[in-house]
């Protein structure tokens, strides 16, 4: 697994932002003798070792840090342990070993009381199956997290109405969940999870139960809300398209193990294993790769058809580059000219989607 620290350094979004949530050596095994698994199998046992001991390894030795304001996406196939990992982070599932640091303090050492306080004020979660309470109206559902904190009625309803408006459900406050469509129900779920102004926002496959068009619409909605609120997010999905739309960084899980963490671009340009490259095979590269990943080192050329920024996505500048037979200059804010890119490179990328090596250094 890549070292989290080195991964952070080369990411443009975060810079010096503080770490909100981190975990170290986090394990979760299921099975009758799960409590004693470390004595039974010291070190870092493989999934096969654990299986032999009659245990199911849902999370194996997870290690990463989520920064303030970052959208951290956890990806993997069904059963790879994504949900379990996220539930360990909020201690809905008690980890078998390891540390979870939330704002610098170990969540696993918090008492029941402290945990309730943290969940009441600092965490929000959206569920795949919406998990709305059937006996409450939209307003009641959204106000529920405030109600259990004994926030006075007027205050909590005002806040709930704000949130309902934020997710675009104004006017449906007195509906019951069963009277809403799936997309609308998940909007309620989102509004509810935001009602307490959480510091960290967990979303477990929030859009998987929706059909593709609605899913797209909800992703746009999510991006809009995130651009306003700038929450720290742990987002689970098994859909790579969704991940690259939303993620700052992506962690890819397989059989309970995180096999790579990186920006979408890093995953495509430097896949850590064959599994990762297989995973990213059908991704439209032009949407993920930046000009920097495709450019050539500047040669002796003097005439350019124009300039493109090094961090622009290929898809965004493709038309501009393809329309000219001359290469374009690639510039990077302070450093000036850093490379060149021409029509042929872009066409190659757009035409070839077979997952071969794109790096043309």
């Amino acid at each position: 697994m890549a070292d989290p620290a080195s991964n952070d350094a080369d990411h443009p979004v975060r810079g010096a932002r503080s770490i909100k949530l981190a975990c170290r050596g986090l394990w979760k095994v299921f099975g009758t003798s799960a409590g004693r698994f470390q004595e039974m199998l010291p070190g870092t046992p493989s999934a096969a070792d654990l299986h032999e001991a009659g245990l199911i390894a849902a999370v194996r030795n997870a290690e990463f840090a989520i920064h303030e304001g970052e959208c951290f996406v956890i990806m993997g196939l069904s059963g790879s342990g994504k949900s379990t990992l996220v539930r360990c982070l909020s201690r809905l599932v008690e980890p078998s070993a390891g540390e979870v640091l939330f704002d610098g303090r170990d969540l696993l050492k918090a008492s029941e009381r402290e945990l309730i306080e943290i969940r009441r004020h600092k965490m929000g979660m959206v569920f795949q199956g919406f998990a709305l309470l059937p006996h409450l109206t939209v307003l009641g559902n959204v106000a529920f997290p405030l109600e259990v904190q004994a926030v006075e009625r007027h205050a909590r309803e005002t806040r709930a109405r704000e949130m309902i408006e934020l997710v675009g459900l104004k006017g449906r406050e007195s509906c019951y969940p069963r009277e809403l469509s799936g997309g609308q129900q998940q909007r309620v779920g989102i509004a509810r999870s935001l009602a307490v102004k959480p510091d960290i926002w967990f979303l477990d496959e929030p859009f998987s139960a929706l059909d593709p068009l609605i899913r797209r619409e909800m992703q746009d909605e999510f991006l809009r809300i995130q651009s306003v609120l700038k929450k720290t997010i742990a987002f689970i999905t098994h859909d790579f398209d969704e991940a690259i739309r939303l993620a700052d960084r992506i962690a890819i899980m397989k059989d309970g193990e995180i096999i790579q963490i990186g920006t979408p671009e890093q995953l495509i340009t430097h896949p850590a294993t064959a599994y990762v490259s297989e995973f990213t095979r059908d991704v439209p590269r032009a949407k993920v790769l930046s000009v920097r990943a495709l450019m050539r080192a500047p040669g002796g050329q003097a005439t350019f058809a124009g300039q493109v920024r090094a961090d622009a996505r290929i898809a965004a500048v493709a038309r501009q580059i393809v329309e000219s037979s001359q290469p374009h200059a690639v510039i990077d804010g302070s450093a000036g000219l850093v490379g060149t890119i021409d029509r042929q490179q872009v066409i190659d990328l757009l035409v070839r989607q077979d997952g071969g090596q794109e790096r043309q250094k």
Binding site: L92, A131, F144, Y176
Partner: protein, 670 residues
């Protein structure tokens, strides 16, 4: 179940198939030898009287001690029971005053009515409005009709006494069941402790615990209500744990993420989310309470139950039938009403919350105005307060006349039929069962247990059967077995074909479903009355009543068993050219056998519980023992006989369940 299947699968490989018939033959041979040689080994044929344990005396002595000497530290046991009775008496009295007698000041003769009870118009009106609120005007019409019948046929007074005890017993039963269920859900230890108690309570016939309650609480409506609550509680406990367990994990996780404390999680998240499952429990509590109405009247409940019982004892069938019908209608009305409330989604959205309260709650308004109006009118017009006697109809005399006419004209036919069945079928079978040497029966049961669940099951079954022998109940138990077995056999022989037909013909199925739904709401006693009217007392009558009561179960389970078969299997069979007959015999029946066997199991349990009731018509089995014990307030006798009936039910259940599991396993549908 899977464990059972595994065990059973192992055991079926352990004994080679070929020797199994030989072992059965050996046991049969043993039975014949023991029977023929009963002069040589008398102890093996009939259980010797001098070996019996005086379990009855022990139980009696224990209850006597409990009642007279036991102390719980601060207070004695007797004070505890009196305290409970005293506490429960208040709400019961209040409900009775409200619905039936009115509020009075003073005692006995000098009592002055200070506030009249709710009038018949008021009660009918309120329940009708509630039905309209819970579902629609059609249900309103049904409920209104039921209560009108009760008023018109002069059952109002008794019905309201019955209703008042139901009105108190049901909330208490629901609340108690809910709390126990939540405890069981939260603490697996507690669940493990109460599950066997619940199992026993559901199989022990009610009569058996009527006797201790009679001794501890006396002969009065409160004792009857306590018995009702105890009887109706177990399904609520079960439903509660089941419903809580079925709450989707995500909802529970949401509750925890929202920062709910344990109490908030239970009451604000899980219980509301489990609402529909809980309402099934509530419905069952209501139905069981109504089922208890007649039985409870044996220890002091008044009302319709006592009317039926009195009529039955004095063979006044007309009056008995009318009261039975009134109970049935009460049951149907309350059942449909509670089901409607259960199925009702939380109130539909009302976009403008700013309307005045009376516009937002039109039904509440309607109900209160019905009560107020009927009360006001009641002062002015007595007919509104109390249904006028001169407008009452009674069919009692007519029914009695009809019965007399039937008996005069068809006496020979009926008698001949009865005598023929008795002589050619029932008596020989009874002789056979009673003659079976107990050692051979225990051996057969133990071997069956060993086949299905190895030593554990063999020991359990043998121990339960042994208990029956050791407590001196063997002969009575065999009589029970013969009646119950015969009734089960006939019920299955009639019910399974009906079920098969219904499962294969949609239109017939719809008719059958309506009929069995209605039959299942009828209290057990309702079946007894018409049979007694025609055939009077005796084993034959008892058997017919048991069959009538239990036949619903083979029908229902057969339909379910055939319908739950994977449709692709049926399609595959049809596609490969099966005729309808081949489809039935080669595909549907073999695959439905496990469910059908569960139906048989249920039929046996129901037949056993009904047998106790048929004791009223003079059978000679364990049910009769319990009934006599009740009459004599003989705790030991009643409890021991009751436990023996429960053990018979448990033996049947424990043998059939693993058989079904093993069979399912074999079919690969475990």
């Amino acid at each position: 179940m899977t464990a059972g299947a595994a065990v059973a699968a192992r055991s079926s490989t352990a004994t080679p198939r070929s020797i199994e018939p030989w072992i059965w033959a050996a046991i049969a041979l043993l039975a014949v030898c023991l029977h023929l040689g009963r002069a040589a080994v008398p102890w093996a044929a009939t259980f010797p009287a001098e070996w019996t344990l005086p379990a009855q005396t022990w139980v009696s002595r224990f209850v006597k001690w409990l009642y007279q000497d036991a102390s719980l530290g601060l207070f004695t046991f007797q004070e505890l029971t009196r305290g409970i009775a005293w506490v429960l008496q208040w709400p019961l009295e209040a409900a009775k005053s409200l619905l039936s007698t009115g509020f009075e000041r003073g005692m006995g003769q000098q009592a002055v009515l200070i506030w009249p009870p709710l009038s018949w118009v008021g009660v009918t009106g309120v329940l009708t409005v509630m039905s309209c609120y819970a579902r629609d005007w059609r249900l309103g019409l049904l409920v209104c009709g039921c209560f009108l019948y009760i008023a018109v046929f002069g059952q109002w007074h008794s019905a309201m006494i019955t209703l008042s005890s139901i009105v108190i017993a049901v909330p208490l039963g629901v609340a108690g069941g809910l709390l126990l269920g939540i405890l069981a859900f939260r603490h697996p230890m507690f669940e493990r402790a109460i599950t066997p108690v619940m199992d026993l309570m559901q199989t022990v016939p009610v009569f058996a615990y009527l006797v201790p309650i009679l001794v501890l609480f006396g002969f009065n409506p409160v004792a009857a209500m306590i018995a009702t609550i105890i009887y109706a509680l177990p399904p609520m406990v079960r439903n509660t744990t089941l419903a809580l367990r079925r709450v989707p994990t995500e909802i529970v996780e949401f509750g925890r993420m929202a920062g709910c404390s344990r109490r908030q999680l239970t009451w604000r998240v899980m219980v509301p989310a489990a609402r529909s499952g809980l309402m099934i429990g509530v419905n069952q509590v209501i139905m069981l309470s109504l089922n208890m109405v007649i039985i409870a009247s044996m220890i002091g409940a008044g009302g319709l139950g006592r009317d039926v019982l009195t009529a039955l004892r004095s063979l006044d069938f007309g009056a008995g039938l009318e009261a039975s019908i009134a109970i049935t209608l009460l049951a149907i009305a309350l059942d449909r009403l509670s089901q409607a409330f259960a199925a009702r989604p939380p109130s539909a959205s009302s976009p403008d919350e700013f309307r005045p309260a009376w516009r937002r709650h039109p039904y509440l308004l309607a109900a209160t105005s019905v009560v107020a109006a009927s009360w006001l009118l009641g002062w002015l017009i007595p007919a509104v307060q109390q249904y006028p006697e001169e407008l009452q109809i009674t069919t009692g005399a007519l029914i009695n006349e009809t019965m007399k006419w039937l008996n005069v004209n068809f006496f020979d036919v009926i008698e001949a039929l009865k005598a023929w069945v008795l002589l050619n079928l029932m008596v020989p079978i009874k002789r056979l069962f009673v003659a079976l040497p107990w050692v051979a029966v225990v051996a057969a049961l133990a071997y069956a247990g060993w086949r299905l669940g190895r030593w554990r099951l063999a020991l359990l079954v043998a121990a339960l059967a042994g208990f029956i022998a050791v407590t001196g109940q063997w002969e009575k138990a065999m009589q029970t077995l013969y009646l119950c077995g015969l009734a089960t056999l006939v019920a299955c022989a009639l019910g399974i074909p009906v079920g098969i037909l219904a499962a294969r013909h949609e239109r017939l199925n719809r008719v059958v479903q309506v009929i069995i739904d209605t039959l299942q709401t009828l209290p057990a006693f309702a079946y007894l009355m018409p049979v007694v009217m025609l055939f009077r007392v005796g084993d034959f009558t008892a058997m017919l009543a048991v069959i009538a009561y239990a036949i619903v179960f083979p029908i229902r389970y057969t339909i379910f068993g055939i319908r739950q078969i994977d449709p692709t299997l049926v399609e595959a069979a049809v596609a490969s050219g099966c005729t309808r007959r081949q489809l039935l015999w080669k595909v549907q029946l073999p695959l439905a056998i496990p469910e059908i066997m569960l139906g048989v199991n249920q039929t046996i349990l129901m037949a056993l519980s009904m047998l106790v009731i048929t004791a009223l018509v003079g059978t000679r089995e364990l049910g009769q023992e319990v009934y006599i014990a009740l009459a004599k307030a003989d705790v030991g006798r009643g409890v021991v006989a009751g436990i023996c009936i429960a053990f018979m039910a448990i033996i049947a259940d424990r043998l059939i369940q693993p058989w079904v599991a093993a069979h399912r396993h074999r079919l690969g549908i475990a």
